[in-house]
Point group: C2
Chain length 239, copies 2
């Protein structure tokens, strides 16, 4: 007879990236973690997530986790990988299907920091529960790779943004300075963003132009997920 | 009380690509399918796979399926995606973690074609069980995308091959002719392949040089899976 213990169980976890300012006001790439209150790995920090409900879609489960942990809706959500090493969870076989998400920094700034949820620098984490350090390393690698050939950077920003704000996203994530003139020319040539005709308010003098993400298809965004593209939530679709 | 039916179950399936000659001797991209002998979708063709065993790693499960279906070891094996639509399998919630694999055409030519296993043209399939048509479409898209920026084409060939054989792999999969001179220059400049110093035997006159895959790391193969690269089987590692 098949018993419960003969079947691996499924969890869905989410790596949620945002940019938040540190004490000096410099933006940092951060993720929220949840402190585990029971074994295995009690007291260690872990990615937010939980068991897949019988009638819930995978991406819906990841969105729900994100909402419950941060109070936010994702601006970008994509499946990362299924982690299934038989030894990754002591005492029980759990396959974790992991998503990664981007949330806007302005939104994330309003988020509660309770005793058991906190934001950490993505590239300077403590020892996490399960194989979650490996999972975050892989998510960081995917974020950096994808930023180079796809149009996801605006997922960290609001609906409109200046080119300097967009460039700062690239600089923080790729961890290198980017020449402002080259960046402007590349962005304008790529058709990734379009000028809104409006300007940033609240700046003293010669306020910079505001841009928005260009939702028209271009060669570069066909790269995303091909036949599964409808399964990626973008700011536009989730709004 | 939690019962078996409260938990989704996990299957692992594999899209196995190979190149095989058609009646005219032209290579075609093909995948093996298995005829279902019970409901749901009895008599329809489906991707090879089955339930994940409690103690089996995901990639091991995909390799086992491949071996049981075709008698072959994969030359390339990578996780594709986890498909978990609650409605994809009537009567039971099944999440399928799908891998894709390349096997060499010479090896695949020796494979049995039993009544319930057959090779089909990957771009001309009948209606398959479950969401397997969508899965194959996505795997085809991933194969074509990856062929453009990564070094996987040799997975269809033996340990040594001529540049004409390698170019034919690209032509069949990308479905467009490629200029032989440009191809030679691109391959030589990329460092993807190295000349063995040997020549093809059995050809009448001026036999072409044999090349092998260059296992040294280059910029282009760092693209593969980043921190998870050790989870991709290549011809070298699986040999």
């Amino acid at each position: 007879m098949t018993t419960l213990d003969d079947r691996p169980s499924i969890a869905v976890s989410t790596v949620i990236f945002t940019l938040q300012p540190n004490e000096s006001g410099e933006p940092e790439l951060r993720i929220p973690l949840v402190r585990r209150i029971r074994e295995p790995f009690a007291d260690l920090w872990a990615l937010p997530g939980g068991p897949l409900a019988q009638t819930e879609d995978l991406a819906d489960s990841a969105s729900r986790t994100l909402r419950e942990t941060t109070g936010l809706e994702p601006r970008y959500l994509e499946q990362l990988y299924a982690f299934g090493d038989p030894a990754r969870s002591p005492g029980e076989r759990v396959v974790s299907i992991v998503y990664w998400a981007l949330v806007g920094g302005d939104e994330a700034g309003q988020v509660f920091d309770s005793e058991n949820v906190a934001w950490f620098r993505a590239d300077d984490l403590p020892e996490l529960a399960f194989d979650h350090n490996l999972i975050v390393d892989y998510a960081l690698w995917r974020l950096r790779t994808k930023l180079e050939y796809s149009r996801i950077a605006h997922g960290f920003l609001g609906d409109t943004f200046t080119l300097a704000q967009l460039r700062e996203v690239y600089e923080v994530i790729l961890q290198r300075p980017i020449d402002p003139g080259n960046f402007r020319r590349t962005m304008e040539a790529s058709g990734t963003v379009v000028a809104t005709g409006e300007r940033l308010t609240g700046t003293p003098h010669r306020p910079p132009q505001l841009y928005r993400y260009n939702a028209e298809p271009t060669a570069s965004n066909e790269f995303d997920l091909g036949p599964l593209s409808h399964r990626v939530l973008t700011a536009k679709e989730s709004a």
